[in-house]
């Protein structure tokens, strides 16, 4: 296939294409989406009360940046996501590795975890409000409960997948049981753990919006709800767009982290 034309390469399954083309295609999809959006709104095909024009969303952004409220709302949501995510990961990662590696830990935790992880966290929101109130703690708790049990199960699976041969090799080189945990299980799990964090970070953003729709006085979910009451579709679009953008940024961060920390794995 070495001499195939560019066009042929594009039509061949799994054939590689030049980097510049990859980049242009990635930008191109956005140009298409924005162009279609502009077409249906500026032409009046869809009424602005349902779908705002690009300029309306931009001017909403400009005015909200101007009065400083946008940063406050972004930070409010991001803070909740960050706290909930870090708290959950900090407990789930070591506990999940133990759960996947020690039979007793698994026997003890499995029945509880497999019950808890099928309960939708949204069902707990009224309870959390009763217990914790409507402060940031409540929203952090929603995120924690939304992702913790899922993270635990995923990490337990990852650590269960670590090759027994590596553990045996480690023992024959003089490793003690503690060394096997710190010098085999932890590093062997690292790529899987970072991939798991990438996935669950997305879920954390889902749950923060749910939490803010119910009880909050700032945040991107909260301004969406407020905008709905005032028929400000442009603000709702702005909020959704920003969540997507923040998701993209965190996703890239985890991709970079994966590349940096586990270049040995690829």
């Amino acid at each position: 296939m070495a001499h195939a034309s560019l066009w042929q390469r594009c039509l061949t399954p799994r054939a590689t294409i030049p980097k510049t083309l990859t980049w242009s295609a990635g930008i191109g999809v956005w140009l298409v989406v924005i162009a279609l959006w502009a077409l249906v709104t500026y032409s009046g095909l869809v009424r602005s009360i349902f779908l705002p024009t690009p300029t309306a969303v931009l001017s909403a952004a400009v005015s909200m940046i101007g009065d400083g409220s946008l940063w406050k709302d972004i930070w409010s949501s991001a803070q909740v996501v960050l706290y909930g995510f870090l708290l959950s990961s900090a407990i789930a990662i070591p506990l999940g590795i133990l759960m996947g590696s020690f039979r007793l830990a698994q026997a003890f935790l499995d029945p509880l975890v497999n019950f808890m992880r099928y309960l939708p966290v949204t069902a707990f929101v009224p309870l959390f409000i009763l217990w914790i109130g409507i402060g940031i703690e409540q929203r952090v708790t929603v995120i924690f409960f939304g992702i913790f049990f899922q993270q635990l199960v995923m990490i337990a699976d990852i650590s269960r997948g670590v090759s027994q041969d590596l553990i045996n090799a480690s023992y024959t080189l003089g490793a003690k049981r503690r060394d096997v945990v710190t010098h085999v299980l932890f590093p062997a799990c690292l790529p899987g753990v970072i991939d798991m964090m990438r996935v669950t970070m997305g879920w954390a953003w889902t749950f923060v919006v749910v939490a803010e729709l119910v009880a909050a006085n700032s945040g991107l979910g909260y301004i969406s709800l407020k905008a709905m009451r005032g028929f400000q579709v442009d603000v709702i679009f702005l909020s959704i767009g920003l969540i997507g953008l923040l998701g993209l940024v965190t996703d890239q961060f985890f991709r970079l982290l994966r590349k940096r920390l586990t270049s040995w794995a690829l």
């Binding site: 090759s163 041969d165 045996n168 023992y171 024959t172 080189l173 003089g174 270049s263 040995w264």
Partner: protein, 276 residues
């Protein structure tokens, strides 16, 4: 206790190695039995196995797949527990795995998150040797297996043969009392296999070391061994012990020699007899 080993005398009930009385026994496997049981069913994998490997001897266990030869190696490494009998290394009863018994596995077991140098250094770090000494040992063994230029490579960048060379260097760097090798070249192509056998013979020639090597390849067994234990399976027993008196250093040329062919014929006879 079992029978007295060659080259040992007792004095007041204490076993003392005798002076000028031949090589010391390094590995002493005594009447080992291994039974796997799950529920009502139980399978006897090994039955009443006894064998000795003398210090600096190259011993090979050859047998068909499923005869329990790898299990015997795992028992010696302490990665499996015997149902009966005991295993002694330098007259110390083994109880679990330890750095005194290094092992090279059939599967590739380099730690993928450590580069070649750090893989070889792994055991030395666990034993908390000083950094300067560690570096010296690592460099020596990387040179021994001809991989000094690949010290910074990741395992995924190496070929199968190179990975097993690192695994050999890693096991030897720890200076174990005995090196256990579980079909280490089983997954390699025949060309690489030949050069790995030669490399192992060279390394073993420079560094006196007791080796217990498991294989199903009869040529490999005769080329490497001072002594061959022929095993047959279900349950695994040792059918015959053969001594190989081919001169060293050996090369793959010896496959044409009469003594080589005599031994090969004898082993084939034993294994064939078991089949029928």
């Amino acid at each position: 206790m079992g029978a007295l080993n060659d080259g040992e005398i007792t004095r007041g009930g204490v076993r003392i190695p005798a002076l000028n009385a031949g090589p010391r026994t390094c590995l002493d496997i005594r009447q080992i039995g291994l039974t796997f049981s799950s529920g009502q069913k139980s399978v006897t994998a090994l039955e009443d196995i006894s064998l000795q490997v003398a210090e600096n001897e190259f011993a090979v266990i050859v047998g068909p797949s499923g005869c329990g030869k790898s299990s015997l190696l795992y028992l010696t490494a302490g990665l499996l527990e015997p149902t009966s009998g005991e295993i002694r290394v330098n007259d110390k009863r083994i109880d679990g795995p330890g750095a005194d018994r290094g092992m090279v596995f059939q599967a590739y077991t380099l730690f993928p998150w450590l580069n070649v140098r750090d893989n070889v250094e792994y055991g030395l770090k666990r034993r908390r040797l000083p950094a300067a000494q560690r570096q010296e040992i690592v460099e020596y063994y990387l040179r021994e297996v001809g991989l000094e230029r690949f010290a910074d490579a990741w395992p995924r960048q190496l070929s199968g043969g190179m990975m097993q060379r690192v695994a050999i260097a890693r096991a030897l760097a720890n200076d174990p009392d005995i090196l256990l090798m579980d079909e280490p070249f089983g997954a390699l192509d025949s060309q690489t296999r030949l050069s790995m056998q030669q490399l192992l013979l060279n390394v073993w020639g420079h560094n006196s070391k007791t080796v217990l090597f498991v294989t199903h390849d009869i040529d490999e067994a005769i080329l490497l061994a001072d002594r061959i234990y022929v095993m047959s399976g279900r349950p695994g027993v040792i059918s015959r012990t053969l001594e190989v008196h081919l001169p060293r250093p050996r090369t793959s040329e010896i496959v044409m020699e009469k003594h080589f062919l005599d031994i090969k014929r004898e082993i084939l006879g034993i294994l064939h007899h078991d089949d029928t």
